[in-house]
């Protein structure tokens, strides 16, 4: 892209930033189904992908959208779909299939306010646990959570890179606020943006589903006679549904390739976590309130620190534990009825007093004032 030779300043909407980032990351296929507040991603890619020789198509539902994306990935191309809660529900079975078949792809869930149709156009953060445990069976997910338009851009590129690197579906867990707001963003110079591509097999290789933590991935039509299946399979893709050991080995490897990298995958912004009395753990749009609240609390002489999660799953345990070791109180503001809260409580293991701050309804954000009030209450 010509315009990317120099650093570029843009004034973009979050969803637009996500779509542009996908193009830069090398996405060549998008399939989606309209849903607020994610539709702009589909609309933008419908315009942009054909310009770079890619395909964007509106499917008949979300089951088809994610299915087509997984198919495109096996055709050898980077693929994405984007939706919101109700569509994310429908995608869960295929997310499990993509996990089991080790298919790189990016699934954007722009969270809105559920359950069910709830307040469909309003913001919520209620899909945190769904993004971890949504599909059936023993599974691990990698989930990223942007809190600005800039991060919609950066984390979309990162999502594609992680998908290719780990050969697994990656979930970008955005929310209505971040997706719909417009902000200034800085697009880095093209050569400063890392783009990772999947490891392809050598012509003699045959084990595309085992023998190493992250096996190489052929595409269909390359002469490898690849057998892809969501049934328990051996390293060569041949299904093995009677052997307990074969299942254990496969599913443990699939989980382990993610869980063993938890520390490396942890992506957090921290502030004074080694020297604070009150800590905050926050993510997504809610975390936008922490800066002002912290500034004001500090002006009042309070010693405060925070961990802002840019990656949610695997839960960045180590860094959150660090906070629980210094802070006596930890506030967890979320626009749901306690989802990350219990994770922090688990990691804290009684060391710190974990205090929830929850707000749902109307898409109303937790304000810096409300957070400050909670900080002062806890002090």
């Amino acid at each position: 892209m010509k315009q990317l030779r120099r650093e570029n300043i843009r004034f973009w909407q979050g969803n637009e930033a996500c779509a542009e980032a996908a193009v830069i990351a090398g996405c060549k296929f998008f399939a989606g189904y309209p849903i607020t507040p994610a539709s702009e991603i589909a609309e933008h890619l419908a315009e942009r992908l054909p310009q770079v020789g890619g395909v964007a198509i509106q499917m008949e539902d979300e089951l088809a959208s994610i299915g087509a994306a997984v198919g495109a990935s096996w055709a050898g191309f980077k693929a994405m779909t984007a939706t919101s809660g109700p569509g994310f529900d429908l995608m869960q079975e295929t997310i499990g299939w993509a996990f089991m078949t080790e298919t790189p792809c990016v699934i954007v869930d722009v969270q809105r306010l559920g359950p069910s149709t709830g307040q469909a156009t309003k913001c919520g953060q209620g899909d945190v646990m769904q993004s971890r445990w949504g599909t059936h069976g023993d599974y691990s997910s990698i989930v990223l959570s942007p809190n600005s338009v800039q991060e919609m851009f950066e984390l979309t590129i990162k999502a594609f890179n992680l998908a290719e690197r780990y050969r697994t579906p990656i979930i970008l867990l955005a929310d209505e606020i971040v997706a719909h707001m417009r902000e200034k963003i800085v697009i880095p110079i093209a050569k400063n943006m890392e783009v990772i591509n999947r490891k392809k097999p050598e012509p003699y290789e045959k084990a595309f589903f085992g023998l190493q933590d992250i096996p190489p991935m052929p595409a269909v039509g390359e002469g490898f006679n690849v057998a892809v299946t969501g049934s328990t399979h051996d390293a060569y893709g041949i299904r093995f549904t009677a052997d307990a050991q074969e299942h254990r080995q496969l599913v443990e490897r699939l989980n382990n390739k993610i869980q063993s990298q938890a520390e490396k995958l942890a992506d957090v912004e921290t502030y004074k976590i080694d020297d604070c009395e009150i800590g905050i753990v926050s993510f997504g749009c809610t975390s936008r309130a922490i800066y002002e609240a912290v500034e004001k609390a500090e002006a009042k002489g309070l010693k405060i620190g925070y961990t802002r999660l840019r990656s949610i799953w695997p839960f960045p345990e180590k860094i959150v534990r660090q906070l629980t070791e210094t802070a006596k109180k930890i506030i967890v503001p979320e626009m749901n009825l306690k989802q990350i809260f219990y994770e922090v409580q688990r990691v804290s293991n009684g060391r710190a007093d974990v205090i929830p701050l929850n707000k749902i309804g109307g898409g109303e954000l937790i304000t810096p004032e409300e957070l400050l009030e909670k900080i002062e209450e806890s002090a």
Binding site: I57, A68, A72, V228, G230
Partner: protein
């Protein structure tokens, strides 16, 4: 075409999962015969997609080829992603009637509407075979199944007719009692573009036939032969006269712009 042709050249040395006498075996071998007669020494220009069900095991992992075994009902969306990104490959979908026109029906209709360039071969055994014989959208009226112990109170779907209405370029129906016609139809479809649908009415003694009163698979094949009415004759028959019959033959053969053509034309225009 050598006389000593064996379908084994296309198969991995694995045990087939089908009951003996299963019609799925006929569909499998007629497909491979068709590929052989068309001169495909290997299946490397093909990608096979299937869902979940006995019939979905036909290509995967048995064919020495790329095979993508998807979820129950989702083979057509996955085939869509593959075909759109690799238009040079022949994408073939195998599935049961439950898979293709039960849980996956919406994808089937939309793929035909879009004229997606794939061939869908549906093994219609009129039952959910793999799960042990529950009623399917294709089960004949009054037939006893495990979930309709008093006989089915629903009327079956005519998938071939539906495919015609939805926009398919090629639609045929044969039965496993018509292996030559089935094979010729597959050959014809493999040489065409656009959405192609072949319905193979097939015997499943295990999950359907026994409960319906058939002694063996031969009896079921005899039943297919007796009930089969060529589409040309069916056209002048009343609905009543056609009840319980199996209309066989070519339902449609036509040309329409295919999805691959229209999408890639759009991409060209966008790049101007």
């Amino acid at each position: 075409m050598s006389k000593s042709f064996s379908v084994k050249k296309y198969l991995r040395p694995l045990l087939l999962p089908f009951c003996s006498g299963c019609g799925g075996i006929t569909v499998m071998s007629e497909f491979l015969r068709a590929a052989n007669e068309l001169g495909y020494e290997k299946l490397d220009k093909f990608v096979f997609c299937s869902g979940i069900g006995c019939s979905s095991w036909i290509p995967s992992p048995h064919f020495v080829a790329d095979s993508v075994h998807t979820l129950h009902g989702r083979s057509i969306p996955v085939a869509t992603g593959i075909k759109l990104m690799r238009p040079d490959l022949h994408v073939i979908v195998f599935g049961g009637d439950g898979d293709i026109v039960g849980i996956g029906l919406s994808h089937f209709i939309h793929a035909a509407r879009r004229n997606l360039d794939i061939l869908v071969i549906m093994v219609n055994n009129m039952i959910y075979g793999m799960t042990g014989g529950q009623v399917a959208p294709t089960t004949p009226f009054k037939a006893k199944t495990t979930t309709t112990p008093y006989g089915s109170f629903e009327y079956p779907l005519d998938a071939a007719k539906l495919a015609v209405t939805a926009g398919a370029c090629y639609v045929s129906r044969w039965t496993t009692a018509h292996p030559k016609e089935l094979k010729d139809s597959i050959k014809k479809a493999l040489r065409m573009q656009g959405f192609r649908f072949i319905e193979a009415v097939s015997q499943c003694l295990t999950a359907y036939g026994r409960r319906a009163g058939f002694k063996d698979s031969w009896e079921m094949l005899k039943w297919f032969k007796e009930k089969a009415i060529p589409i040309e004759s069916a056209e002048v028959m009343s609905e009543k006269a056609l009840t319980g019959k199996i209309v066989v033959g070519e339902f449609v053969r036509r040309k329409r712009p295919t999805l691959v053509e229209t999408i890639y034309r759009t991409i060209k225009e966008a790049q101007k």
